[in-house]
Amino acid sequence: MVKIDDIKAYIAQIPPAPEVLKETLAFINEGELTKAATCAQEDKALHVYLKTLVNKPIYGFKNEVSELSQIFGILGTSGAQQVLYNYMLTLLSPKQWELFKLNESLFFELQAQLNQQWKRMLRQLNIDDKDIESAITLLPASIIVCEALFKEHRDEVMLLRSVKEMDYNTILKRLCGMTLFDICNLIAKKWEMPPTIAAIVHAASGTETSNDDTIDQLGRWMHLLLFYEFSQAAYVEAGLNDFLEFHIEYVEPIYDDFMSLMEVPCEP
């Protein structure tokens, strides 16, 4: 099954963040959106990615938005940073998904949904912090890592699961002493993401808490959001519903607020 050497090899092959992206992010951090847009022009794939993203129905624009300066202007500094991290993650995602029934478009959709819902939640919590807003971008890395490490072991996992209810995260932890979220942290470090991002995503695993109440609270919201999205028919069909264990007791303190925000009647 998966060995610690496989994890090391996987981490080693993750490329550092491309220079263009790093520079663009630096301009965004300085609030220089026009310079950021000019810099981003150099990466054609990024341009296409951003254009496709902001023209998704979830962004609600009537007319097509195509200019990068316009896109960055719409997104703002927080939104732009979030989208750039999302783009970095797509560079890591496989061309062909094998373990999960995903494709480029469905994964893109998931990222967009998570971004928008997370923004809603932060508004509800009166949090306006660029790094916290971007934290959601690292979450889908757990799916990519899981795909990469377990795609060769699907049948073995199914066999294990025929006798014991176990998620991929638990299997990895027991076999290698590392979780998918530990690996996400390593990716975040490699990509020089702000430490808050990794901390919130770690708390969103539902298995480990931090010593920071705010981080844990955000982790709860993110954990429940993740399973809210993973319960959508398309992602259930893709096999995402049970790749991680849902910790119901962890999210209980925020459940009613979450359901009220998502406008779902709180039954049962």
Partner: protein, 464 residues
């Protein structure tokens, strides 16, 4: 999503939010077909990790489970819920609750037809008198001791003294129950609970595969708890006569307890006695009489007199069995297991070694059993992936060992299927000592393979 099977109970574990649009996606056609092929007594959906559900979502599960019940005659329902969820389900299906609800998996196990749990003292409460009675009857049939609280007040009072009970059953509802004959294991005797009118349907409700495998793995005493039987007709009589003939080949004994002959011809009794079946008035006459129990074979899972020999087909498939064992160990530990030597022989194992063991039987195009005997430390290491946090509890290690041989059984099954050999596997069995294992396999010819894992040897034994 596939059901996790343990002790012949299949359980689905959905997570998150369940509604009418996502539940159909949880169960692909392949999942449904795989579920239909499961050899289980009970099929449940755990709501432990479900934070939200609506009726449309549950309806999809109920429809699937009901279809399977009509084909396999298994008990279906939901388990692992809190009061809020229990009340919601009860409200959703107020007039149409024909499936069962078990507060926990542990409670569900008390009601499973093939119950291998020790007898438990169970406090029962349900606001409906008919449910209280049904629950108590089923528990009793499965060999437990139910204590019914007739009112909420009485229940709350009794609950204060929780130590007096092994299990407390509340917020549990029995819907249409399966038609399978309840089976329980007491020591080395197997007890089947039969009731009402015994007719041609007995051949459908009696799990003959389970019975044959129990014979194969060394059980010699089979007791039919027949206190609640009203009468028996010629079809049932023929069924039991055949069962007695088959048992004779294994030197096994069949007994009826509590059967009256007011509405059953007395001649049946004489003829069944001639075919070797014994009759007793009370269960205690057997279970509390050690000498008789020993004589009948219920004190140990003894060696089968008419030993079945290894055959060429089985030996030809030996590499697949070894591959399945070795690859399962490697999969679960990421460490290498190697073969040290193999020979056809009686099992050769140091009786003083502190090994624990497990076995699993298989039947179909091929039949036999695989036994694995491990030093305690290796068993623990092998099962670390299943055990999770380090434990020294023998019960947990044996439980994990049972899951481990179950995985091996599953692998063997798929490897054999590649060669168009169809087999089914039995429930795994575990042994706390070498003596217990030897009682089953001693004197049987088999293939013994000494395997090495992490510097220590363990034994693989394939026999019939």
């Amino acid at each position: 999503m596939r059901a996790v099977v343990k002790n012949r109970i299949g359980i689905f574990h959905p997570q998150g939010f369940l509604d009418g649009t996502n539940v159909p996606m949880l169960l692909s056609l392949e999942d449904i077909q795989a579920t239909e092929k499961l050899d289980v007594d009970m099929l449940l959906v755990s709501l432990k990790k479900v934070i939200f559900f609506n009726k449309n979502g549950l309806d999809v599960f109920v429809k699937l489970l009901s279809n399977i019940r009509s084909k396999l005659h298994v008990v279906i329902g939901f388990c692992d819920y809190d009061t809020k969820k229990y009340l919601a389900i009860s409200k959703f299906y107020e007039n149409d609750l024909n499936f069962s609800l078990f507060q926990t998996q542990k409670i569900a196990m008390l009601f499973a037809a093939s119950n291998k749990e020790d007898s438990k003292k169970v406090l029962v409460y349900n606001p409906e008198a008919s449910q209280r009675s049904s629950i108590a009857i089923e528990l009793f049939d499965n060999g437990h001791h139910p204590v019914i609280a007739q009112s909420l007040k009485e229940f709350e009072e009794k609950k204060q003294n929780a130590d007096a009970f092994d299990v407390i059953v509340e917020e549990t509802f029995l819907g249409l129950f399966g038609q399978k004959i309840a089976t329980r294991v007491r020591g080395n005797a197997i007890i089947y609970s039969v009731s009402n009118y015994l007719d041609a349907e007995i051949s459908d409700s009696f799990n003959i595969a389970y019975h044959n495998n129990s014979l194969n793995v060394g059980f010699r005493l089979f007791i039919f708890d027949a206190y609640k039987v009203v009468s028996m007709n010629i079809h049932a009589f023929n069924f039991f006569s055949k069962l007695a003939s088959a048992a004779a080949e294994y030197n096994a004994t069949l007994c009826f307890v509590g059967l009256t002959f007011e509405k059953t011809p007395e001649s049946f009794k004489n003829d069944l006695e001639d075919s070797g079946i014994m009759f007793f008035d009370k269960m205690e006459e057997i279970l509390e009489n050690k000498e008789l129990l020993e004589e009948l074979g219920g004190s140990s899972a003894a060696v089968i007199k008419s030993k079945r020999t290894l055959n060429k087909v089985l030996v030809n498939e030996l590499p697949r069995f070894i591959d399945a064992t070795v690859s399962t160990i490697e999969m679960m530990t990421n460490a290498k297991a190697s073969k040290e030597g193999a020979s056809v022989q009686d099992i050769n194992i140091d009786k003083n070694s502190k090994h624990i063991a497990s076995s699993i039987g298989f039947y179909g195009d091929l039949d036999g059993m695989v036994a694995l005997s491990f030093p305690h430390s290796i068993a623990k290491k092998t099962c670390e992936l299943l055990l999770g946090e380090a434990t020294d509890s023998d019960e947990e290690i044996l439980d994990a060992l049972a899951e481990f041989v179950n995985i091996i059984g599953g692998r063997v099954k798929s490897l054999l299927l590649e060669k168009n050999i169809n087999v089914n596997i039995t429930l795994p069995r575990t042994y706390t000592s070498i003596d217990a294992l030897l009682q089953v396999v001693e004197g049987k010819k088999g293939v013994q393979v000494d395997l090495n894992f992490d510097g220590e040897n363990f034994i693989f034994f394939l026999t019939r």
